[in-house]
């Protein structure tokens, strides 16, 4: 197991105005899961269920209230600042929001090469090599090298998300957190990106922690999946098992709400009746 999350709870202090007493909001409650090296692990849950909070804890952008997170056997809370920085090059993230996650004042070239500069000591690439790699990455994610010196606002949402993926791959991480990576993409580009992620995984042995609302995508991408509801894991297991024989009410609810791209399976129209 490359990642073990053990009984993690995360409370946030919330205050309702200056006079009210602060209360606690439990965003994650006793969450345990483990991700094997080289697998794709899916996390599915409604908005506000705690998915992004969990990724922030994995990235050590926030501290657990209780419980432990082990990466490659090491408790993340025990790491020195230096070791933590090294570890960060091994774990990268593609963010949810392609509009907010790219610095509008930086060129595509600088956005993608920035993590390579930060992790210069591990990667050892010179400026020229970094630029070459940026071009290579742009082509990998379906954009051309001609976009090198353009700014994020010149791209559509879908193109921006591809830039985000290129940036995450730049430092050759082992563990990639994908927080709704394709929700802003149209299906044809999504297919390219999913196939790209699959190729990269096969080639580089990457581990994916894949967050998505799209159960069709989760089913296609993930070996195992956990369903999170209001901060608690309600079901986890092999993807096929959950899709074929869900045990929790929540899993059944999600599966029944999943829209299939087949007009004959619509809950809104009687089969084969309303054509034309």
């Amino acid at each position: 197991m490359i990642l073990r999350i053990e009984n993690v709870t995360k409370d946030f202090k919330v205050s309702h105005g200056p006079l009210a007493r602060a209360t606690h909001f439990t965003a994650l409650k006793d969450v345990s899961l483990s991700v094997g090296k080289g697998e794709s692990f899916g996390l599915v849950g409604e908005s506000g269920s705690g998915k992004t909070t969990l990724t922030r804890l994995i990235l050590q952008l926030d501290r657990v209230s209780s419980g432990r997170i082990l990466f490659d056997g090491t408790d993340l809370a025990s790491l020195s600042a230096r070791d933590l920085r090294h570890l960060r090059s091994r774990i990268q993230i593609v963010f949810q929001d392609p509009y907010a996650s790219l610095n509008p004042r930086m060129t595509v070239h600088d956005i993608i090469s920035e993590p390579m500069e930060i992790h210069q000591d591990t990667l050892g690439l010179n400026a020229r090599q970094r630029t070459d790699r940026v071009v290579e990455l742009l082509e990998l994610v379906g954009l051309g090298g001609q976009h090198l010196f353009r700014f994020p606002h010149e791209f559509s949402g879908g193109q921006r998300q591809r830039i985000g993926i290129a940036r995450a791959l730049a430092v050759r991480p082992e563990f990639l957190i994908l927080d709704e990576p394709t929700s802003a993409l149209d299906v044809s580009v999504q297919a390219q990106v999913l196939n790209l992620l699959h190729e990269l995984q096969a080639k580089l042995g990457l581990t994916y922690f894949f967050i998505s609302h799209d159960l069709g995508v989760i089913r296609y991408v993930c070996d195992r999946v956990a369903l999170i509801y209001r901060g608690e894991i309600v079901e986890q297991g092999e993807t096929e098992r959950i899709f074929e024989a869900p045990e929790s009410d929540y899993a059944r609810l999600l599966l029944s709400a999943m829209p299939e791209p087949d007009p004959d399976r619509s809950p809104f129209r009687p089969p084969a009746a309303s054509a034309g």
């Binding site: 299906v187 999504q190 297919a191 609810l253 829209p259 084969a272 309303s274 054509a275």
Partner: protein, 342 residues
């Protein structure tokens, strides 16, 4: 008379690099009771089509080159701005793609919906359900009740309490539902919904689709549903228009187009959706990317990516031909066939 009729719409968009022909001859007819899915790759012109109907494309940089957009016979492209203002929020409801432009963070959610309700009520008093001579406070009270009703209808729990919250106190999904409530409050004849469920969970999405479907059944409005989710289109839409680089390349009843896709682009699009039985790596997708609209390829704009391309494809944009009842395709290879419904 059709509810909405778009004829040969050409829209230019100017940037310092030149003018791009972003809508390149759009034809679309929407009747009451129809839900049209508009699908296609990012940048193909879906949002601009919707924005053109409510005439919200800024000109410049936009320029309507030729064509017409008629709402029950009235050409919207030549209507005055005051007339357009009275159509928006009343006969034409819109849900915009970018949620941040829609709700003002400084005002309570309720105030913002009440404003929309009062605007709509000013144009059609029956919306508020009070007499034309009702006092200002009566109208305000009715608008507030209507706002609470609509919030409850789109699935905001305890709407009566939440109505005085600020937008930041709502989750993304709840904010999206507020926008849907705002677009519906004027009881529009035509609803343009640009990616209305993209940010939502499937369970909330299912609820919104049910709401939309019931509204269409009840009020016979026409809907343009812009989305990249082909599952949503298959479920709720009666018709679908597939766009590529500023053109509708295939359109018709949803069953026809999904069961008998004719255009190679539609085929590729449908093959891009993962299905239950697919193994990883089997997803086909579409190689290549969309053309630069500043220098579009000659003829069919899909030709450079098309596996079945022929010399005649680049001669001219192929006209739309009917290949079956309720099914048109703009491809030189399109052949008439028996309808999928048969």
């Amino acid at each position: 008379m059709a509810l909405l009729e778009i004829r040969d719409l050409h829209l230019g968009m100017r940037s310092f690099e030149g003018e791009a022909h972003v809508l390149n001859g759009i034809h679309l007819t929407v009747e009451r009771g129809e839900i049209w899915g508009i699908v296609g790759e990012t940048g193909c012109g879906k949002s601009l089509t919707g924005l053109s109907i409510s005439r919200l494309v800024s000109t410049p940089p936009g320029r309507y080159i030729t064509g017409s957009i008629s709402l029950e016979g009235r050409n919207l492209l030549t209507a005055s701005e005051p007339e357009m203002q009275s159509l928006r929020g009343r006969r034409i409801g819109m849900i915009f793609q970018d949620p941040t432009t829609n709700l003002n963070p400084a005002f309570r959610v309720g105030e913002q919906i009440v404003d929309v309700a009062l605007h709509a009520g000013g144009l059609d008093p029956s919306i508020l359900g009070v007499g034309a001579k009702a006092s200002r406070s009566e109208r305000k009270k009715a608008a507030r009740n209507l706002a609470i009703d609509m919030l409850a209808k789109v699935g905001i729990p305890k709407a009566g309490e939440r109505i005085d919250d600020y937008p930041h106190q709502f989750s993304g999904g709840m904010r999206q539902r507020v926008l849907i409530a705002m677009a519906l409050i004027g009881r529009p004849d035509l609803l343009i919904a640009d990616e209305p469920t993209t940010a939502l969970d499937v369970s909330v999405q299912a609820q919104i689709l049910r709401l939309l479907y019931d509204l269409v059944q009840e009020h016979q409005l026409g809907v343009l549903l812009i989305t990249h989710n082909l599952g949503v289109v298959a479920q709720i839409c009666t018709h679908v228009a597939v766009m590529y680089a500023g053109n509708i390349i295939e359109s018709g009843s949803v069953r026809e187009v999904f069961k008998n896709p004719n255009h190679p682009y539609t085929t590729g699009l449908l093959a891009s959706v993962p299905t239950a039985k697919m193994k990883r790596g089997e997803l086909q997708g579409l190689p290549g990317s969309v053309p630069n609209l500043l220098a579009p390829p000659p003829g069919c704009r899909f030709a450079p990516r098309c596996a079945a391309v022929q010399p005649r494809c680049t001669a001219a944009i192929p006209p739309s031909v009917a290949v079956a009842a309720h099914h048109e395709v703009a491809c030189v290879l399109a052949e008439p066939h028996a309808s999928a419904a048969a």
